[in-house]
Every structure is written in structure tokens, then in C-alpha cells.
Amino acid sequence: MFDKPLAFWLIQSLNSLSLGGLLFLLSAGFSLIFGLMRIANLAHGAYFMLGAYVGLSVLRAGYSFGLAMLAAGLAVALLGGLIERFVLRRLAGNPLAQVLATLGIAFIIADGCLLLWTGDPQQLPSPEWLQGVFRIEGAAFPKYRVAVVAFAILLAGGLWLLLEKTRTGAMIRAGVDDMEMARGVGIPVSMLFTAVFCLGSFLVGVGGVLGGPILSVYPGLDTDMLPLALVVVILGGVGSLIGAFIGSFLIGFVYTFGQTLTPDLAYMILFLPMIIVLAIRPRGLFGRIST
């Protein structure tokens, strides 16, 4: 098992990082929403796919990759905001109904995408200046994936600043820790809910565009991605940004090396660390609240 050449370890480590970066883009929004609103948003995978499709259309219309990211993020944020206001809000206080509603929304979005973008799997091209490879130790690694890792780290930094250093961030943290108390001291929790739902949706919409060049866009992308988001957030701990960050990269490494070194365990390797962590520490590695 350990007689592999150096290039193998290097490439697989880079693969782990890039998968981790991708997972963070996917799950940051999920964790935020789950943490504050206690809603496991099962439409999150569908948001990711919708973001990728919107990005694809913007790119096809001849606009830049950055604009595609922005447009996808805004489109999904708008949709998320509407759903929060007009669906989830009406079911407040009934988490089971809310979760079921998000599942229904996931199906509706998936069918809508099928209608608008057909069932053909499609490729989302990466920006031209990021095409090509880096050569390391005789092995090649795509530039685009390095960029995804860099973006994920930048995003994590930005979100950390937002949550830890701004007034809004403090309000969000207060809401996560103790909703009633936050309401009691005059934090506009209702506004906050909508804002966080929009932000979480924005992030996953952008994530969909960034993931597109690696994953391609196809019907079923939503259900392929949702379990990954769940695993990351349960492992890292609900409502914790650092948890989502560490969880993403941890899963990236465990998944990549698990699959390559013990291929027969490829199916359980994703869930094994989650089960172990849950058994020992039910609120996840960095969780503020118990799931």
C-alpha cells in the first residue's frame, strides 16, 4: 500500500484538496442555514445543480465565467429568498414539515431543470486562462482545480470575517446559539432568517458554477451532491463555519485516499468517518448545537 511513488502521494493529496474545496463551496451555505434555522434544506443539491445550469446558460450567451458565477449566485439567492418567505415561513415551528417542503422543492427544481436544459449531460467550460496543467514530479495536475481550492480558502476567509467581525455576523452567531434570547435582545430574527437563507443559496449557486467544470452538469447532479453536503455538515458540526471547512477537507482526504488505497471500501468510506464521529461526538467536530 505504501510503496507508491512520490508523484502518487502528491497528486492524490492535490485531488483531496480540490475535492475538499469543492465540498466546502457546496456545504458552507448548507451549514449556515442548518445552523441558524435548524432546517436541513434538502433542496440544497438542487440549488447547486440550478446554479450550474444558470451559469452554463450565461456562459453560452457569451459572458465571462465571473459573471456566470455572479448571475447563478443571484438567481439561486432570489429563489432561496422567495422559498424562505413564502413556503418555509408559513411552516415555522414545524421542522418536519419544513424539511419535507424542501424535499418537494428539490423535486420541482430538478424537473424544471430537465424541462429547461433537457436531460443531456452538458459540459461547463472552465475559464480559458485556467485550462492546462501544472507539472509536478512528472505528474500533471489541472490548473483549474488549484484555482477551486484557492477560491474555497478565500471564501472561507471572507465568511469568517463576516461572521466574526461584523455586526450582522454577531447577530447570526447569537441566533445560532440561542434563538429566543437573540429575539429577546431585539435582533430582527425574521430579517436575519431571510438574509441567511439568501446568502446560503447564493453560496451554493456560485458553488454549482465552480463545480461545473469538474463535475459536468446533468440531471441527477442534485442527488449526487446532497449526501456529500449532509456528510460534511454532520461531520464538521452544524452551524459552524470552521466545522464545514475542516469537515470538507477531511472528507476530501478520507474519500480520495480511501478510494485509492482500499478500493473495495469505496462505498462506505464516505460514511465511515461520519459514523465514528457521531458515535463519539454527536454534535460533530466543531458543532455548537447537537443534530
Binding site: N15, P121, Q123, V133, Y218, T256
Partner: protein, 415 residues
């Protein structure tokens, strides 16, 4: 008291009954031929489902909706792409719509789900897509026949091509970790190794794996080629990432890895990919050119695996219906004709059905090239009259276990 004229009454009844019978038989001949068509309109298989529908619709349009002198009523049912849905819809088609023949379903696991039911109800069924080996091998169903080949059929031909024509000695294989991926890879491996080649590596990424990066990173560099056995969107995803990682070894693959249905979404990464198949849009024959032009005119795309499969299922149903003079109600005779249609002719050329319900047909070795700016599977070699058993004796072939992850065993794997 009056006497009832029994004799007259009996005569009247007799005449009425005769009229009724006559009417019924007239009606039977004027009643439409009902085809139940199983497809998938949602989820990951929806693209294939749409192409299936296009294939059958084009066929019926070309026949003015008349087969063997009878008007055709096509009843399309969406299975949702799962076994339970396939079973429900098949039941509906048989018991409510009283269809004379079923075309479909799309996926092998759907075909397996309805296997018992079509046997019990004696429903003639033409598979236009499901390629699982055992459906026409160790678990032959007398009410089942295929218009497409078995999973391994074209890959066995590709195995010989790789060893003999291309002279490849060492190959690494990567394929979807489900029955279809196992069967395509196994057929390739068996014939390739029987012709002196060595499969030195086998990788099985899960069907819904998020990323192929970690697998591509493992592929051995010191091989002559990589065999890629993928279905659906995975061929598209794999080939793109293969190129992104700067991999240079030539790619061989199963029919669906470079199917016309996804080829239109691919870029330069598909160039040179060589696959085996019972059809290619690039077949250079007048019949195929006419077919490709018709599909392009109607739907704006090239036909591929699914379009041809459904169109040909229509051709097969027509051949059998003509053989029984349109009397498809006589199920036994109709099914016999479906299993023994003689020589059938469609865009891929002439084909027959073997004793197990699977076509014996030309296997094409296809190479992706760019022609007029469009990616096309061009034919580089043809293996005529190829059966699902390749050149092996059917009895010996069937005595061995069905192709799988570990059958035939790989004896040349390197650590």
C-alpha cells in the same frame, strides 16, 4: 295459450350470434395494433428516454402509422427509470390498455423487474435498450427479444481489434461499478487476453462518484491504452477529466462511452476515442445516410444507441406482424415471428435473431473524428455476423458464469 316458436327463436338467436361473431372478427381486423412503449422522462435516464421516443416516433411517422395493414396506437408510459415504476406501467399497459406488444424498457434492472410478469401474461416484449447479458443467455425468456445487442457483444469485437489490429499488449481498464460496466469490460478483457493481450489494471469507480480525479491519478502510465466502460453522463465526465489531467494513452471504450447522444456535448477530448458498437452514425451506407438525415431533419441531432434501438424495435415488430398477416392477437404465432423474423434490415444493415432472442449482426469499430466541425463516430472496421457469444461455442459460453467484476478472472493484474 300460445306456443313459443322455439325453432324460430333459436334461428333468430343463431343469426344474431353469427352477426355478432362476424362483427367481432371484422372489428378485430380494424382495431389498431397497440404498442406499449416504456420510456423514462425524469431523472438521470431522461436523455436516453427522449431519444428512444424519437426513434419510435420517427419509425411510425415514416410508416404513416400503419404496420402490416393495421393502424398503430402507440401508448407511451413513463417508468420514472426505476424497477417498481417499470412493473406498474407494464401492468397498466397489459391490463388496462391491452397492448399487443411492449417495446422497452430502457434500463436492464427495469427489464429484470418485468421479466416474470411478461412471462406469466405472455406479453410479447421487444427490448430496445436493455442490454444485460443474461436476458438472452442464462435466463432466456420466451416472450422477450432484443433489437439491440448484449452488453459485451461489441466489446468482444473491440478486444480482438485492440490485440490484433492495433497490436496493443497492455491495457488498464476503468469502468462504472455496476452490471453494465462489469459486462462490457469483461467481454473486452476476455477476447483481448485470449488474443495475447494483458489487462494489467482494473478500476471500478462508483456509478455516482463525484470526481474521477483520484481514479485518473491511479491509472498506470506504462500501458498501450486505457479501456473506459461508461454509461450516461459518466463517459462525458471521465473523458473531459482524462484530458484535463494531461493523460496521453489512447482511449478505447464501450458503445455508450462515446455514444452520439453525448458526443454532441463533447469537445476535443473525445477525438480518437475508439469504441465497439452495433451502430454508428458514421456508417457509410445509403440506408444509414438516409436514416441519419431523417433524424437530423426531425430532431436536429445524430442518432445513437437509443434512437436506433427504438427505431429498430419498430422494424422488428413490423417484420413479425407482417409474417402473421397482422394477426398479432395470436400471441404464440406473433412471438414466434418476433423471435424468428428472418433477415431484418435497418440503418445498421442486415441482422438476424439467434436462438436466445439476441441479434446476430455486424459489430463496428468506431473512432471519433471531427467532420464539418461535428464529432462523429466513423467506422474503421466491421466484424460481420457477430453473435453475443463472439466465436465461442454457445454451450460452453453459457456453462460459465455470467460476466461480472471478477469473471473472467484477471490473471495479469500488476500491483
Amino acid at each position: 295459450m300460445f306456443r313459443i316458436p322455439f325453432r324460430a327463436v333459436a334461428r333468430a338467436f343463431g343469426a344474431a350470434a353469427a352477426c355478432l361473431l362476424l362483427a367481432q372478427s371484422v372489428q378485430a381486423q380494424t382495431e389498431p395494433l397497440r404498442i406499449g412503449f416504456l420510456t423514462v422522462r425524469s431523472g438521470a435516464l431522461a436523455a436516453g428516454g427522449r431519444q428512444l421516443e424519437e426513434g419510435i416516433q420517427l419509425f411510425l411517422k415514416e410508416r404513416n402509422n400503419i404496420i402490416a395493414g393495421r393502424k398503430v396506437e402507440l401508448i407511451i408510459a413513463d417508468t420514472g427509470g426505476n424497477p417498481a415504476g417499470a412493473k406498474n406501467k407494464t401492468q397498466e399497459l397489459v391490463e388496462r390498455n391491452h397492448v399487443h406488444v411492449i417495446i422497452g424498457p430502457l434500463a436492464a434492472f427495469e427489464a429484470i423487474a418485468i421479466d416474470d410478469y411478461i412471462r406469466q401474461t405472455k406479453t410479447p416484449t421487444v427490448a430496445d435498450s436493455a442490454a444485460a447479458e443474461d436476458l438472452t443467455q442464462r435466463k432466456v425468456n420466451p416472450w422477450f427479444v432484443r433489437s439491440v445487442g448484449s452488453s459485451a457483444q461489441p466489446n468482444q469485437a473491440l478486444g480482438e481489434y485492440a490485440a490484433k489490429t492495433l497490436g496493443y499488449k497492455r491495457i488498464a481498464m476503468i469502468a462504472d461499478d455496476f452490471a453494465y460496466g462489469h459486462e462490457t469490460a469483461a467481454g473486452f478483457q476476455r477476447v483481448f487476453e485470449d488474443n495475447g493481450g494483458k489487462v494489467v489494471q482494473k478500476l471500478w469507480p462508483p456509478l455516482n462518484v463525484a470526481d474521477y480525479g483520484s481514479y485518473i491519478g491511479q491509472l498506470k502510465q506504462n500501458v498501450d491504452a486505457v479501456y473506459a466502460g461508461f454509461a450516461g453522463a459518466n463517459g462525458l465526465r471521465f473523458l473531459k477529466q482524462y484530458k484535463e489531467y494531461g493523460m496521453k494513452a489512447p482511449v478505447l471504450g464501450s458503445m455508450t462511452t462515446a455514444d452520439e447522444g453525448i458526443l454532441k456535448q463533447m469537445g476535443d477530448e473525445a477525438l480518437g476515442v475508439t469504441t465497439g458498437g452495433w451502430y454508428a452514425a458514421g456508417i457509410d451506407s445509403p440506408d444509414n445516410k438516409r436514416f441519419v438525415a431523417a433524424v437530423n431533419k426531425e430532431y436536429g441531432v445524430d442518432p445513437g444507441y437509443y434512437t436506433l434501438g427504438a427505431y429498430s424495435a419498430g422494424v422488428l415488430v413490423e417484420a413479425a406482424a407482417k409474417a402473421v398477416n397482422g394477426k398479432v392477437e395470436e400471441k404464440e404465432a406473433f412471438m414466434k415471428a418476433l423471435r424468428n423474423p428472418g433477415t431484418v434490415h435497418d440503418a445498421r444493415g442486415d441482422w438476424k435473431i439467434d436462438d436466445y432472442g439476441n441479434p446476430v449482426m455486424t459489430m463496428f469499430i468506431r473512432k471519433v473524428e471531427r467532420k464539418n466541425g461535428k464529432l462523429v463516430n466513423t467506422v474503421v472496421k466491421a466484424y460481420p455476423n457477430t453473435s453475443q457469444f463472439w466465436t465461442y461455442d454457445p454451450k460452453a459460453f453459457l456453462a460459465a458464469p455470467v460476466y461480472s467484476r471478477d469473471v473472467p478472472p484477471a490473471k495479469n493484474l500488476e500491483p
